[in-house]
Amino acid sequence: MSSLNPELVRGSLDLMILSVLSDGAQYGYLIQQKLKAASGEMIELKAGTMYPILHRLESNKLVRCRWDESTGRRRKWYELTVAGKKHLKKRVGEWQAYVQCLQRILGPLVDPSPQPA
């Protein structure tokens, strides 16, 4: 985590991973790289953090897995379930509402075009 407050990030990791998966099925390493790219290198999720989250999402049936051996070694692919897609949509909605609410409260303090530090 380069320059974002880890406290803020921690709460939304699930959401970030689910949203990456909305692009289609991916495997762990790929998810990690995509997250890094999509966030402009602000989010560098450590494997030790990510895999436990993925496993939890799996046991909560928000993602499903399948194994593939086309590369020569066993590779685990994750994709969103229907429940996962619904969950993602709901969480995104929650976040939007939250952000708007916060913007209203912070009002003039918010820089209209915030840039990463």
Binding site: M1, R10, G28, G48, H55, R73
Partner: protein
Amino acid sequence: MPEREFELYLDLLGKLLKLSPEQKSSISDELRDHLEERFEELVQSGQSRDDAIRQALDEFGDAAGLAVDFTKVSPKKIRRAIMRTTAVTTAVTALAAFLFVYFGPGKGGTEGPGGTIARAEPGDNKPVASGVDYLADKELFPEVLDRPTSVDFFDTPLSEVMLYLSDLHKVPIIVDRTGLEDAGLALDEPVTLRAESLPRAYFEARQKAEQEKKPLPPLPPNADEVPLRLLLDWICEPLQLGWYMDTGLIHVTPRYREFEHQIPRSYDITGLLKSGLEKSQLIDLIETLDASWSFIDGEGGTHAIVGNVLTVRQNWRVHRNIAELLSILSSTRHKPYRYLTDHDRHIRLLSQLQQKVSVDFVDTPLNECVEFFADALEIRIFIDTTGLEDSGIGTDEPINLALSDVPLQKAIAVALDPLRLTLVVVNGRLTLTTIDMANEHLHAVLYDVSDVFSGDDVEAFSEAIQATTDGWWENIDGAGGDALTLTDTGRILVRQTDVVHNLIRDMIAWSRKSRDVVDEATTKAQAEAAARLAQQLTTRFYRMDRDSAEDLLSLLPEVVAPESWKSEANPDGGFIRKVAAGRRILEVKGQVLSGQAQLGGENPAQNPVQTGKKPAQPEVPEVKTSVVIPEAILVIRQSQNVHRKIEKFLTGLGINWNSTDEDGKFLGGTLLGQGGGYF
């Protein structure tokens, strides 16, 4: 192609996970895929194989942390698989130790969200049972840390030392390899450490064996063994390393990391609060300890008291000090003073310093002098060579000293003071070091002076200590020791050098002695005054009926304290006179038909005498009678003691009397109505 190192890592992880074989192999496969991908990427970007492997593993984090997270996630809800390494065989422990050493957490460390061993799980942080012993917390202070250990390392590589200890006590030791390398240390850094307090015979046998190239004699069975935690301190210190305990694992890291590694912990202080300790006092005490607190120093730990629970976030060492402090505060036995850390050991070492020794050094090198002392008194002295070097003093510094039969402490002081060196207890062993170093190693001692001082005097004594002892005090000099008073219980926590502690103990002893003297004097004076008072003659007026007075005039001096009355032999004795005192008229109601009126007779129920009238008879008309009783006053001049005896006598006789003093103040008696009422 699967890399061997990854397999070892995954293998270890598998052993630490308590999951079904399918789950284990599934996780292994997934992580292997990730590691290999990353490895390939790194190699393609130009890194060497070894570097790529190390980086891939570093980014992953250490197996232990990962295992904790995975087992949390396991639907079987198996927690703390890491604690069950005791179930793992020695071989695997050794392997694990090796692997931990090799794959130690990298620069990224295990900090951050997820994967932190140090993170306490909610609900795991149960407050320590409120007993006297806060050190009984098995998670933070497992018994293994106190296990006595005898070692004999001579230029032994650090990794071997750790393997040996880990194997000996069946406890995993994680060495932060990257941290070591950052500090410029290698895993094979030589460690020299010998077991403590071995008898001279052993040294001689050992020397002989070394000279004759024979195998060394085994350590004698009663060799003084050192608790593992002290041993770790002694190993780590010269290498600028530190160590801490967390979730059942010993971590060896660079010293700064030891301080920075914070652990949250809750302490149940119900008992302490009940005993009268106030929350604010407890906070003050904790802040007196040697620790950094974020709200004071800007960085460090935090503490908070909510209800009956004290929650502290600090490094391991501070937690241990806090547990020691709380235990001592809880103790109900009165101990005049108590070193917070390893009291018994500390006292034993201090007594070693008092042993008498005779020396005759002529340009004798310093280390030979030390050897001489160690041999002569059969004690072990550690020379802080780093500290000496920093001061430009070599261990071959020539010493000149001729003294006979003086305590070791004095001999050292005379010989070494000019060199600004001293011999003090540091971390459980006698250490020869610079005076500046000694001033940095302050000892916390809790003094109980409740038997000597009370109330404001306790605080006054605390201030007196700071004003008169020859030490550095924060309150006065801006740096140095500190003293905190618990007025209600007469206790003072002092953090200072042993030189000052000795002075404090002397001051308490003097105060105790002089208090005894003062007490004696006071009691004596009081007793004398009381005696004098008792012997002083005072005049009292005893009022009673005239007949009794008449009789008593002669009776009293014969019966009550006969020797105290005036006589030829006792011209200063008491005397007794009778004075007529008019009459008293008593209104008597009731059916007194015969006999005399009862004195004090407003109580006709006392002795109604009935005639032969039948009870069925309707009431006999009430009679109101006035009875006239002549009274007299006995004027008696006697000592208080005798007056008391007279009172007892009169009451025993059953007559009614009362007495007043010279001012008319009523003193006692059974006669109703005011005394001295003339009519």
